[in-house]
Symmetry: C2
Subunit: 234 residues, 2 copies
Amino acid sequence: MSAQGGISVFFIDFLHMISLYRPWPGSLCFYSDVFYGTIAFQKILATTATNKMTLKPEILSVTSVARSRLFHIEQVDLRFNNGTEVQFERLQSDSAGSVLIVPVEGDELVLIREYAVGTERYELSFPKGNIDTGEEPHVAACRELQEEIGMASSNIRLLRRVIVSPAYVNRPIWILLATDLSVDPLPGDEPEELEQLRWPVNRMWELLEREDFCDGVNQLALYALGHVMKVLPY
Amino acid sequence: MSAQGGISVFFIDFLHMISLYRPWPGSLCFYSDVFYGTIAFQKILATTATNKMTLKPEILSVTSVARSRLFHIEQVDLRFNNGTEVQFERLQSDSAGSVLIVPVEGDELVLIREYAVGTERYELSFPKGNIDTGEEPHVAACRELQEEIGMASSNIRLLRRVIVSPAYVNRPIWILLATDLSVDPLPGDEPEELEQLRWPVNRMWELLEREDFCDGVNQLALYALGHVMKVLPY
């Protein structure tokens, strides 16, 4: 079988599998409880392992200690059940969270290269952005796709909902898969035009070897895609 | 083949595979460039995809705008190559980064349940913690294991080094695999005793279904383990 043929067959199975795996309304304009149903899927399963319920510590007070344009730091005074009192800090945010979208067009992933001031270099990433107030995650996802890669998607599905560093933040990241893409750009607020990069799906694991694909959430998104595609990273 | 037998065979292959995959000094006291060699492995590979070099924006100034006990927020004034000037914010840290350790003892993973003030609930996690000033990541990893699960490891290997949210931070997380565990506790600084949870390796993917295993970095660590073990998440 040629590589091309292999990918096509593999994609039919892939899309079929995703449909079975975590359903999503076919149209972006169609809102449904199915969306939240997929989240409920991430329920606590009964296990044979220990899972003792621990009484939560009591929150004595929450104080705002520092604020900037983007960040808001809170100090939380807590009393644990053994009587120990501690002060923790956490980051609050006005945003309802963010989306990271894996766009697949044909046999290719669509990525962007964007300057990151944390690492002070250009990083490779799937399109991403904040969820605006009152916006549904899949609507935010389509808007970000239009702004960052100039394409809309009529088929956005949930791959995973995660919180990174729950010890410090409570800001969910919705990792989504977008297919059925069509050219439909929206103006973004980026300071420069984003460079787009197409990457063959059958070489997706090579992304993990790239120094500029260092972001753990992007790597997780790749594994989550591989998970629903049932393809091994080796 | 019995389930038990299956796991044993699978572990021999697993450990063999890991040895081939990313070498690590056998003893914790033995320092070696091999450690850094594994990082160099994450180099940029030549690819057929577009990889245009973009000239970085010029940093005009960096200003400290807010500081708390844990966090330090900087404002960075930038000029992009197209002349656009913008202000970004980022989080700085005194720490050299952190470690997240996947401890494997026999056929079980060792996890902890710890209160997270971000989500205000107990979360399931692999042992983790900050790297102290001047400390090597594998030394920090062994110390955290001793503090959090009361065990030392004589075989710690690198699974992955990531930066989460490079747009805002430049703080690496070293994801490590620890085997050859022995009882050797150190006092920790946790406000209460950490609950330990043993989880069968052959049911590792069920962790992804747990609401209290929501942390993206822990999920990535699980996939990175599956990657070197060559086991499918389905």
